[in-house]
Symmetry: C2
Subunit: 335 residues, 2 copies
């Protein structure tokens, strides 16, 4: 039930209460308290700090009637943690900026905080502070602080011609989940793997840390908007081109299931967003050190980095096409 | 003129271009680049990191037709930097989360970035990254990273009975500026001091650093929502009460001017938000070390910290009243 007369201080206290007793409280590197002007964070010696922030907005990134509140809580943190993973870093703490309608300060908030706390525990990333206000729509911004050993961060800009392009997991699965969710009349069926991946994505922190620690990747990023939009960003930052092969893409086998057979697995893999898998470029001499799977997570060669700036996609018949960005872009989709 | 076909990548590049060549670029402690997954920040040895974030939302915190775009740019950063000042810290860098209507991606964005860059230079706080998306209304979230020598941060929770309560500057001036702005039919007259303070607040970074460095304050916070709302927060965090005297408040002399004579200076000082002055508690033995002004900024004793939890206000006739929170609270004002 919505609690009326909720004011900002009691909202902050409620959030603090949900996170009280979490490991962060006893952690020597986090001082101050939720509700102070700012959070204090003692960085480890020899480490660099990684900073990232991510919007998660009702109507733009999620729908109040389709996305369970606990999934909103989980995903807003998972998305931002994925940016830390993409640098090879370890998440440490986060700030939560939350704007809520009065009607969401009761049950919805409880469920949201439950999902958020579950994610915080899973990713070892703890609430350090934030800002709250009232608003007609639910607005969320999550800022995550991570750490990486000095000099080990993997940027987007280091890819070199000849590097082999890898991706983790299956591409397009979260997009498939979103489509199933949108077409469903009933509440989300979280047991369907694709729906689960869309609602509760798992940032690839362990993989990113391993690749960075072993110096196996020249460049890396996470796939948040879709391969066809994100690969060009990595290539632009590195001043290189790329050639990928459709036949090698780790697609979701849509044809095997009546519920999904109308979707094209290759198109989902190219243009589907929200997978939060890692895309990374490995120098040829180190390719043998990349296993087929890392702790149960598939790792797949999908192409290579090339000289020049061309971005090519080889289809199943070996015909070459330009890779056209068809992923998520808020300024394209809505204009 | 609004630029159509603006997409997210070109927006990020435009923001990066405005900030290119800023000191941060040549600063050894900031690596990576705007547009990468996350920003890299090398903390100084022996310092703690301070983290804060602040909403700045159209309709809630500013009005598109009343607030010039460059003031929105200035103020969104100044507000967050003020939280760093309130801990006694020095701002270092910030992340900008920006959601814009398509119509604001032209002239409005240029002006916004101009104000933001001016503030960034003034506060020595540089753009390290962020996130952009499209939205019907302008949504801003700014996350600032600062630093303070380990152990020197001043929290809200350290006030002790007998401490003398000080504030910097004049209270209620920004609220007066807001009222003048709202009642004006024409564009904002930035030459009026109160309007200028509302539009372009100056966080008290130098004062906060001095107080922290000299260990002069037991507790400190910035006045963002108004004295009657913020002082109770400091007292609650410290487990103490307070008694302030109306006659001592550094109010704005509203009666002296025909434009402002209808406003009550004391009420403005108690309940007016957005001043971003510092509120701090000084142990009695150190009061003599606090000058009447610090680099031209007025410092005023307004009362003292007391045992128990009572919050009292003595009026001009020496009658005591309970101090009632009448400052800004998004959940009270709008519900």
């Amino acid at each position: 039930m919505p609690r009326l007369n909720q004011n900002e201080d009691s909202l902050v206290q409620r959030i603090a209460r949900v996170f009280a007793g979490e490991p962060a409280d006893s952690h020597s590197t986090l001082k101050g308290q939720v509700g102070d002007d700012a959070a204090l964070f003692a960085p480890k010696r020899g480490y660099e700090t990684i900073l990232t922030c991510d919007w998660f907005l009702e109507g733009t990134h999620f729908l109040r009637d389709k996305h369970p509140a606990d999934a909103v809580g989980w995903k807003c943190l998972a998305r931002a943690v994925s940016d830390i993973a993409a640098m090879g870093g370890q998440p440490r703490c986060f700030l939560l900026s939350l704007a809520l309608p009065q009607a969401c300060t009761g049950h919805w908030l409880d469920e949201f905080l439950r999902g958020l706390r579950r994610a915080a525990r899973k990713f070892s990333c703890f609430l350090a502070g934030g800002d709250t206000t009232q608003r007609k729509e639910i607005l969320i911004n999550v800022m995550v602080v991570g750490e990486v050993r000095a000099g080990q961060a993997v940027l987007r800009s280091g890819a070199k011609p000849g590097d082999v392009i890898f991706v983790s997991g299956r591409l397009g699965e979260a997009e498939l989940g979103l489509r199933l969710l949108r077409s469903a009349n009933a509440a989300a069926n979280k047991r369907i793997a694709a729906v689960k991946k869309h609602l509760y994505p798992e940032p690839r922190v362990a993989l990113g840390m391993w690749l960075a620690g072993e110096c196996l990747a020249n460049a890396m990023m996470d796939l948040s908007d879709g391969l066809s939009s994100d690969l060009p960003r990595l290539c632009a930052a590195s001043g290189v081109g790329a050639r990928i092969e459709e036949a090698k893409l780790p697609i979701v086998p849509t044809a095997a299931n009546k519920r999904t057979e109308r979707f094209d697995g290759v198109q989902l893999a190219l243009d589907g967003g929200d997978d939060y898998e890692l895309l990374f470029a490995v120098p040829r001499g180190k390719v043998a050190r990349i296993p087929r799977s890392f702790r149960g997570l598939l790792l797949t060669k999908i192409g290579e980095i090339t000289r020049g700036r061309a971005l090519l996609r080889k289809d199943k018949n070996n015909s070459k096409h330009e890779l056209v960005a068809g992923g998520w872009d808020p300024f394209r989709k809505k204009s």
